[in-house]
Assembly symmetry: none
Homo-oligomer: 219 residues x 4
Amino acid sequence: MTVNPSPNPLTRRSAARSTAAERARAATRDRLLRSGRTLFAEQGLHQITTHDIAAHAGVAAGTFYNHFGDKAALFREITDQALADLTGRLDAMALSTLDPQESVRLQATALVGFAADNRDLIRILFSREADAAIVETDILQLMANRASVVRQQLVDEQRMPSEIDPDVFAQALVGMWSRVLAWWAEDTSRAPQAVVIETLTRIQLRGTHPGTFDFSEKS
Amino acid sequence: MTVNPSPNPLTRRSAARSTAAERARAATRDRLLRSGRTLFAEQGLHQITTHDIAAHAGVAAGTFYNHFGDKAALFREITDQALADLTGRLDAMALSTLDPQESVRLQATALVGFAADNRDLIRILFSREADAAIVETDILQLMANRASVVRQQLVDEQRMPSEIDPDVFAQALVGMWSRVLAWWAEDTSRAPQAVVIETLTRIQLRGTHPGTFDFSEKS
Amino acid sequence: MTVNPSPNPLTRRSAARSTAAERARAATRDRLLRSGRTLFAEQGLHQITTHDIAAHAGVAAGTFYNHFGDKAALFREITDQALADLTGRLDAMALSTLDPQESVRLQATALVGFAADNRDLIRILFSREADAAIVETDILQLMANRASVVRQQLVDEQRMPSEIDPDVFAQALVGMWSRVLAWWAEDTSRAPQAVVIETLTRIQLRGTHPGTFDFSEKS
Amino acid sequence: MTVNPSPNPLTRRSAARSTAAERARAATRDRLLRSGRTLFAEQGLHQITTHDIAAHAGVAAGTFYNHFGDKAALFREITDQALADLTGRLDAMALSTLDPQESVRLQATALVGFAADNRDLIRILFSREADAAIVETDILQLMANRASVVRQQLVDEQRMPSEIDPDVFAQALVGMWSRVLAWWAEDTSRAPQAVVIETLTRIQLRGTHPGTFDFSEKS
DNA sequence: GATGAATGAGGCTTCATTCAT
DNA sequence: GATGAATGAAGCCTCATTCAT
């Protein structure tokens, strides 16, 4: 015969109560986050007021400050989450192959997939406001640093030519990515997803002007 | 009948006066433009007030509005000039060769040269604020449009592979350029000018991962 | 008909429950009072929020309003209690002697003793905020009124010289008291308790400039 | 023969222009100062908003900030000026006699005269808000420090009895002064000016309880 | 009765812009 | 044309208070 370790009714009730309150609070916080994401994507950090966000979330102006210290804190939370998501995807890709060529294609696939799934986030992440004075972290710089370090390793291992400076390469890469993704996320009908992936991949693997260099090896 | 070849002294004087006044006015306007360029480059459109610009230019706050309709107008004038300069340089380069490879290198040279000569302008042009809602013109978009059209022509003429979508290519190109130049203009000691040019050129001609594609032809 | 001398168990239980609840309630109320006293003493009425008090008392923000109508009500309750305590001590002293000289000394002793025992209350009572618009009662005014009435009686009975106006005297007295006590209560190491008592007493009995007076001409 | 150093008309005109503008600016500043003084005296620092002051002065809300950094700055300027005036009067008195008795009377005269002339300032200076956290300087403390130092000297020179502690004395003195003056300035019909002076003087010279003291026996 | 999230009025401050001189 | 004080709309944030659970 088993004892049913059923929780004490009082405990359970109070736990339930507490959980309900917490859920309500979390829901409000989430509405604010979503509203911020939507509005920042549409209009940018400076055009949007805390009142706008609160109104869009259906709460009073003061409620905003029950959940976020100030406007920048909300913005930072959005971008931090987004960046974590994005780098998570890139890392997952990176681990799935050792072939550099394949790796390039998988990264492009991950990026474009992320943009398709998170159009608002892309527009926020890759707006230059994301690294304005108000927000300390420069997202593109973080990504560039990652890319630069990886690249330097490859150069050191003589798996990449040293003529391409790792720092310049890294800036070029994130510039290309951010611009293409922001452009495409704004209106995904501008190009089929596969075309975006393919073009990004080809530019990395063979450059923008492939045929001009050595015509013997056209794929 | 006599021709009066000598200007009336009064007329001349007043013309001279007027010219002096015009010169003074133009000088004031120019100081405002320079101040705006310097301050916007340092701190961005939103951080700088019209008072800041007037103070930096050594004029009164109201004087600003004798020369520019509003803050955005000054900003636009700066960016329009800069864009005209930049595209002028690019066009000049474009005309000097028919070889696509050489053309790529010359473009990179022109761009990096412009950035070296106009560090402030680069930081303004390629900050994302340059295409914020307040300023209608999207500079990068203009450049992308040019690049896209040119590319489309080359594809149509079968001088470029169609696998690289002209629109995506154009976005990638301006993204790469703008990011690299903004990064470098912020601190030109980050890389030698020649390295920036060379890296940009190589990425275009052969991609970021050249060795991975066909190892037989490493230069 | 039966008298039921033994309490109904249910009634008793519920009475006990009720008493326990009352005790809990009173304890909460008391914690709020103490927290208010501590915090108001440290920072003043305006610097302290109801949230501060509730947090310091370890209760929720809303609980505050289960016990006090508003912030001013709590403040008033603190000051009313303090004033009652203080005047109680002064009255007790007053009854213990008929000798005016002794009375002065005993009053000083009582006041300084109260300050030593209730440093927080002194700082609240004798901060000017205690009679700010938000709180109707002016504590010093109440004390001054008492002093004025007593003085007037002594003058009428010709036991005090009429040259000292009872109202001015009363203001001077409470001004002197409140300032000295507030100063001392802030840091009791500023002077030994006995010195404070003695100095207050001497000033009342002989003035601040005793030796300077020519005693031949008392009116 | 005398050269008439009449100013150049242009210079004069522009000087006049400049002076007119300066005068206008000074007048606005002065209106704000007066409004602040009046309103702070009536309602205290916390009850009065910058908008209140601007409205009372007949200017727009933003104009306040053309002249004062914030509300506290205006408040401080008012109190600093007032304190300088007041201490100036006291110092002038102090120099006019060497007789301590006369000095006491002259100080009382100066203080009460100042209160009569500056009722608003008295109410501001001697409200406890004048030393609230927002304003660093504690006016009464400054006055007390002065009094304490002077007293200590007199004690050292054996011209005052050491039984009266200089620090306690100083607090008592400024407490008495501030309370009496604030009370009287609120409504000067409460007592004739001469009576206030006389009572303050007598309390200092002979105490509040003169007749009660037996002069034969004090240690 | 306790809880604590939500409320929203209200205060402070900034700054693009105007206008009388 | 230059000046610079004045303007006032608008944004940020606080906090006393309410109320559903």
